[in-house]
């Protein structure tokens, strides 16, 4: 059989393989991961490898479309598109998401000391611990609580390892519906990842995972369906999207074993609201106390952004798939928030150029979502970017940092951002329309999700990402899905409150809303959202 040599970090690995198999499959079979955002059908163009030696065959149609001329010159190929027949030597360009867990930021989730009057529910005396998990498409966050004292012991945030089956929900559901193997691997991956991080965190904090006797999961419906194996294929059918969807945790002992927690632990996936509105949104509504005053809007930014509007009688909920631009994915110079990310930027008042702030005090490697909002708003303000997303003065890009590495905002990046923003804008305006209120009647705008953490509200309003309300009415709330999950874990009263929220909610299907396309078109413009009647 032919032999494949893979060069990673100065070492070489040799793998024999049957000719004709896609390179990506050969690599995955040997436990070598390549970055990917699709199921390996050539859609994402991320699984890049450099061919060092050997015959790599002809470029496919997808490669000609997605690779640049200079990449082709350098013998860069997409691993899913080439099927080597003979000996080959390659270098993996990007190894993809390793589930590197980091400490959960202190401000994530619920306040870390006990709320007054807590302990009404499941807490029992002695050393009983609980686990709260927010299972997101891109990220997983969890925290471990001392149930009796209502204190957080530790928390971790990491990437969802399912991303190797695709970065978006549709691709993952498709992969799961195509093969039961895929489906069972996808169900297991998050649990294995949490298991590892949980064991580490427990060891560091002097407790044993088996001391954990309660676990609660919230997440979007697709993540919960994949986790619990509740017919993910059904979620691809539009008729399921607005119906209640059952994701019962059928086999708690199996889950407990996979997580490494107490074998009699109660493991509960908080039921999603419907096919495309998950329990993460319900948890967010709970954690923000959204229903305490009418005219309250919640936007949970993510790859799939979810929104809720309370008008005093009905909680209008929806979700809009705007793409992963807010997480820094899909943008050429984009990166997730973290060390090396430009998270804030402002145009210098004189002399040209942009001042920027980098997370971790290191040299900039890319721009995360909040930095992108600042950069685009600044360029709109100076007139270098027009409201329609075109650069003015004959340029097609804007260089933020010239080299090492070059960071440059290109027109297609602006386009992707415009689309993500338009999906949110259309969602917000349709919810306002359903509730029959206008922007002026909004009393609270809760900005949720990691993206919001460093968001400059004035800039976000200037380009129409948030409705134009008095800045004091905008609250940056962080990960409210995890906070709500923690509430449910710690308090029976809160768990009951979440069920009350469910009863008041009414789902809005944006794709059936007659004015969606008009609002979407409006939302593509980099300008404030209209303030008048919806």
């Amino acid at each position: 059989m032919p032999e494949l040599t893979v060069i990673t970090g100065g070492t070489e690995r040799k793998i024999t393989f049957p000719g004709g198999l896609p390179l990506r499959k050969i690599l995955e079979g040997a436990g070598l991961l390549v970055r990917s955002g699709c199921t390996g059908n050539g859609a994402c163009g991320l699984c890049l490898v450099k061919v060092e030696k050997g015959n790599d065959g002809n470029l496919t149609k997808n490669e000609r479309l997605l690779l640049s001329a200079s990449q082709i010159n350098e013998h860069i190929r997409m691993a899913c598109q080439m099927a080597p027949q003979g000996d080959l030597s390659i270098r993996i360009i990007d190894e993809g998401a390793k589930s590197a867990w980091r400490e959960l930021p202190q401000e994530s989730g619920r306040p870390i000391t006990a709320k007054s009057g807590q302990g009404t529910g499941t807490a029992s005396p002695g050393k009983t611990f609980g686990l709260a998990v927010d299972l997101g498409t891109t990220h997983i966050s969890f925290s471990v609580w001392d149930m009796a004292q209502g204190k957080r012991v530790f928390g971790r945030a990491g990437l969802n390892p399912q991303s190797r089956f695709g970065s978006d929900i549709i691709t993952r559901l498709t992969a799961a519906s195509e093969s039961t193997d895929n489906a069972s691997v996808m169900g297991r991956l998050p649990l294995e990842a949490i298991n590892g991080a949980l064991a580490d965190g427990c060891a560091e904090n002097g407790l044993h995972p088996a001391d954990i006797r309660h676990a609660r999961f919230v997440g979007n419906t697709s993540m919960l369906a994949l986790l619990t194996g509740s017919s993910p294929a059904a979620l691809l059918r539009p008729d399921q999207w607005t119906r209640p969807f059952d994701c019962a945790t059928a086999n708690a002992p199996v889950f407990a074993a996979a997580l490494g927690i107490h074998y009699h632990a109660s493991v509960v996936a908080v039921q999603p609201f419907a096919g495309f509105v998950g329990s993460d949104l319900l948890a967010g509504v709970l954690a923000t106390g959204l229903m305490s005053a009418p005219g309250s809007l919640l936007i949970d930014f993510g790859t799939n952004s979810e929104m809720a509007l309370w008008d005093g009688t009905t909680l209008w909920v929806t979700s809009a798939a705007g793409g992963p631009a807010f997480d820094g994915y899909g943008i050429r110079c984009g990166m997730p928030a973290g060390p090396g990310a430009i998270f804030r930027a402002s145009r210098r008042l004189s002399g040209g150029g942009v001042d920027f702030h980098v997370t971790g005090g290191v040299r900039a490697r890319g721009i995360c979502g909040s930095g992108l909002v600042d950069l685009i708003a600044s360029l709109c303000e100076t007139g270098e970017l027009a409201a329609n997303g075109k650069f003015t003065g004959g340029i097609t890009s804007y260089a933020v940092q010239d080299e090492d590495p070059a960071i440059c905002l290109y027109k297609p990046d602006v386009d992707k951002f415009q689309r993500a923003k338009a999906a949110i804008g259309a969602g917000v305006r349709i919810l306002l329309e359903m509730a029959g209120i206008n922007t002026g009647q909004l009393n609270r705008v809760c900005v949720c999700g990691d993206f919001g953490r460093n968001l400059n509200v004035a800039n976000a309003q200037r380009i129409g990402l948030l409705p134009y309300v008095m800045p004091g009415k905008v609250e940056i709330c962080g990960n409210t899905a995890l906070a709500g999950c923690e509430d449910v874990l710690l308090s029976l009263r809160k768990a009951q409150e979440l069920e009350q929220i469910r009863k008041r909610a009414s789902i809005v299907n944006l794709s059936r809303a007659p004015r969606f396309e008009d609002f979407f078109l409006d939302g593509l413009y980099l300008m404030p959202m209209p303030a008048g009647d919806p």
């Binding site: 059908n41 050539g42 859609a43 997808n62 479309l65 549709i170 691709t171 498709t174 519906s177 294929a233 691809l236 059918r237 539009p238 329609n388 997303g389 075109k390 097609t396 290109y410 027109k411 297609p412 602006v414 386009d415 415009q418 689309r419 794709s511 059936r512 396309e517 979407f520 078109l521 593509l524 413009y525």
Partner: protein, 208 residues
Amino acid sequence: MDKLITAILDGDSAMAVSQARQLNASGLSPEKIIIEGVEAAMSALDTKCTLEDFNLLEIMLAGRAVMEVTKLFWPSGAVKDSAKGTVVIAALEGDVHDLGKNILKMVLTGKGYNVVDCGKDCPLQKLADTAAAGRPLAVGLSGLITTVIPVVRQVKGALAARGLDNVKVFAGGAALKQSTPGMLNVDFVAESAFDVLRFLSGLGNGLG
């Protein structure tokens, strides 16, 4: 005519309509205005909209301007008696995303095709019945969700059952464009709406 082309490329619907009205008042036929103005603008947009320089807003605005100009001459929105022929398009059952289909509709209308839009979440039978009534040159399918692939594969059979064996079928959209025509059982898989234009012009209009 240049002013009309500029107005369309700028996405200025009101200006495009007023220019088209003036040209018509000065004696130019609607057909000539479509061919020399609107189609020229579409060709310019095609060259601009490479992967490097794509902007959805730009295309949607230009598309709206085209639709407004078309509506001025043919209020029902369709180019009647189009010399180029009819194209029936749909997002099939199971797919409620039709932004791509709508762009295709605008581009094809702008190029003078009579477009019959079956809408989104369209049942296969409805598509085939519409095609049987419209005697189209081709049937176009747009798909964002890969689960529509099994239905896409049945389209040719449903057309053949109505005696429409010679109607060409093409597919495009995020879920379909990675596939080969063989996998989808269609005649052509398009990268973009403009790619469809090249395919259709290669067919001629013998069936129109």
